[in-house]
C-alpha cells in the first residue's frame, strides 16, 4: 500500500514513487525497457526507504507516531480479533468515543480490548475528540477492566492519544480522579494485562490505560510525559524547539527499552506500519500471542506479585 501523505523527511521516497507510478502506467504495452527501469527504480526506492528509516530521529518518530494513515485501534481490531462486540458507556454519564472497548476473541480465547481511537475523517475526529478522553472514557475503561476481572478474561489495551482532554467539562467531572483510580485498580487487577503503544503515548491520558504486566511499543511510536511541542514551549519558550525537546525527552521505543521502562519493541515493516498495515498487524499478532501465552500460565498471585514488584522498582535515583 502506498500512503497518500508523506512526511517531510520522506520526500525523496515520494518523488521516486511518483516516477515509478508514471513509468508503470506508460509501460502497459509490455515494453521491456520500461519494465527494467521500473524494477531498477523500485530497488532504488527500497534502498532509500531502508536508509531513511534506519536513522529516523526521535522527532521524526514523533511524526510517524501521529501519521494520519497509521493503523488505529479499530484497524488492529479488524486484523487481529474475531467477534468484537463493542461495549458502550460508563453507566453513569456518557459513552466517550475517544476510548473504545469490548469483548473479542484472540486465537479462540476471550479477551477484553480497550483502546484509544483518533478518527480518520473530520467527522469521526470530532466524534472521537481526536482520541482525547474525558473522565467518562477512563471510567468506561475501568468498568470493562473490572468486568474482565470478574470473568477471568485477560485485558489488552492499545494506547494512541495525545493526552487526556484538557477541557472545562473534564475538570468538572474529575479528570484527575478518573485517571488516578485507573492507575490504582490496574495495579491490582487479577487478570493478565498487556498494554501496547500503537501510536502516540501522551502522558497521564495514556498511562490511565497503560499499567499492566507488559508494556510493548511498536517501533515507530512515542511515549512521553509531555509533547515535544509543549516541552519546547515551556523550556525554550518556543515551540520551534520541539525537535530538540524530542531528542532530550527520550520518548522513543529504543530509548525507553534502554531505560527498562518497556518490555519489548514490536518491529514494524520497513517504511512503517502506515505503509504496510497488514504486515504490521501480523507482527503485532505474533508478539501479543507470545506474551499472552506466557502470562496465562502464571498463577494469579505470581502475576500480581510480579506486576507490583515491577511498579515498585520504577525510578532512577541516588540513595
Amino acid at each position: 500500500m502506498i500512503p497518500h501523505s508523506y512526511l517531510e523527511f520522506e520526500r525523496p521516497i515520494a518523488e521516486l514513487t511518483v516516477k515509478i507510478e508514471e513509468l508503470s502506467s506508460m509501460g502497459r504495452a509490455a515494453d521491456v525497457n520500461i519494465a527494467e527501469e521500473v524494477q531498477k527504480l523500485s530497488q532504488k526506492r527500497d534502498k532509500l526507504l531502508h536508509q531513511i528509516y534506519e536513522k529516523v530521529s526521535p522527532w521524526q518518530i514523533c511524526q510517524l507516531s501521529r501519521h494520519p494513515e497509521r493503523p488505529y485501534f479499530f484497524d488492529y481490531v479488524e486484523h487481529l480479533f474475531d467477534d468484537f462486540q463493542e461495549l458502550h458507556g460508563d453507566r453513569a454519564f456518557a459513552d466517550d468515543q475517544a476510548i473504545v472497548g469490548g469483548l473479542a476473541r484472540f486465537h479462540g480465547r476471550s479477551v477484553m480490548l480497550v483502546g484509544q481511537q483518533k478518527g480518520r475523517d473530520t467527522k469521526e475526529k470530532l466524534k472521537r475528540n481526536f482520541g482525547m478522553a474525558r473522565p467518562e472514557g477512563y471510567r468506561k475503561a475501568l468498568r470493562l477492566f473490572k468486568l474482565a476481572e470478574r470473568f477471568d478474561i485477560p485485558v489488552l489495551t492499545f494506547i494512541d492519544t495525545a493526552g487526556a482532554w484538557p477541557g472545562i467539562d473534564a475538570e468538572e467531572r474529575g479528570q484527575s480522579e478518573a485517571i488516578a483510580t485507573n492507575l490504582l485498580e490496574l495495579s491490582r487487577l487479577r487478570v493478565p494485562i498487556i498494554c501496547t503503544v500503537i501510536g502516540e503515548g501522551g502522558s497521564g491520558g495514556a498511562l490511565a490505560i497503560g499499567v499492566g504486566d507488559r508494556l510493548l511499543m511498536q517501533q515507530y511510536t512515542s511515549y512521553s510525559v509531555i509533547s515535544p511541542e509543549g516541552c519546547a514551549a515551556i523550556l525554550w519558550r518556543d515551540r520551534a524547539f520541539a525537535e530538540q525537546a524530542a531528542q532530550t525527552l527520550k520518548l522513543t521505543a529504543k530509548d525507553l527499552l534502554e531505560l527498562k521502562l518497556i518490555d519489548e519493541i514490536i518491529p514494524e515493516p520497513l517504511g512503517g506500519a502506515h505503509r504496510y498495515p497488514k504486515e504490521a498487524a501480523a507482527i503485532l499478532d505474533k508478539r501479543l500471542q507470545d506474551n499472552l501465552n506466557h502470562l496465562m500460565i502464571l498463577p494469579e498471585d505470581k502475576l500480581l506479585e510480579q506486576r507490583q514488584q515491577n511498579l515498585r522498582q520504577l525510578g532512577i535515583f541516588q540513595s
Partner: protein
Amino acid sequence: MNWITRLIEHPQAILRKDSATPEGLWVKCKGCSETLYKKEIMRSAMVCPRCAHHFRISVEERVALLCDSGEYQAHDQGLQSKDPLGFKDKKKYRDRLKEATKKAGNQDALCSYMGKIKGQEVSISIFNFAFMGGSMGSVVGEKIARGMERALEKKCPYLLVTASGGARMQEGVLSLMQMAKTSAIAAKLQEAKLPFVCVLTDPTMGGVSASVAWLGDIIIAEPEALIGFAGPRVIEETVREKLPEGFQRSEFLLEKGLIDDVVDRREVRDYLALIFSQLTQRPYAH
C-alpha cells in the same frame, strides 16, 4: 502539562503573588490588601487573621503546625535525584537541581516524617513547592512509596500534603511512571485498611493530581487552592472559552463533588485527629 512547568519557571507570573513566605516585618495581604504584622500572621498559621487568606508556607512550618509539639522525625533524607536522561534544554537538569537545592534545600520536592498528631502516630509526606515547583520525579515517587510503606509497617495512617505542578519533565517517562508506582502502593494501604488522607494545597496539578493526590480515603483542600489536571492556560487555549469564576479552586471542587471538604489551615490538625480517630475507631483526644 504546559502550564504546570511554566509555573515552575515563573511561579510569580502565574500564581497568586504570595508564593513564598513573605520577608520582612510587614506584609500586604493579597486577600484584603491590609498591611499586616508578619508575626501576627505567623501566629495564625500563615493565614490572614482578617480575611482568612492562606499564604504559602514552608514544609518546616507545615509539619510543626500539624504535629504535637516537637513530635516528628524526618526520614529518607539521603535520596537525591540523578539525571537519567542527560536532560538538557537551555539549561542542564543537573544545574537546575543544583540551583533548586541551593534555594529549597537538599530534600528534593518532598519531605517525609514520622510524627504524632494528638497522640496518633502518622507517616507524613509533604511536598516542597519551592523545589522545582514540587514536581514529581523518581525521588519524590520513591519517598512517597517509602512513606506509605512506613505506614504499612507501623500500621498507622498515612498523610500526604500536596503542592505540585505535576510530573517532572526532566525525568521523562520515569516521572510519569511515578504516578503508577505511588498509586500501586496506595492500593496496599486500602487493603491493609490504613487511613490515607490527602490535604491538597495551592497548587496541586497534573501528574500529582492525577495519581496519589486523588487516591486518599479522605481528601480535603485548603481554601481557594488551585487544583486540577490540566492547567487553566492550557484549557483556555484548547477550548477557547473564558474559564468560569473560581474554576479549579477548592470551593469549586467541593461543589462539583470531587473532595470531602474545604478546611481552613488553622483547623486542619483538629480535622485530621478527628478523622483518624473515627477511621481507626479510637477515642478522640481533645
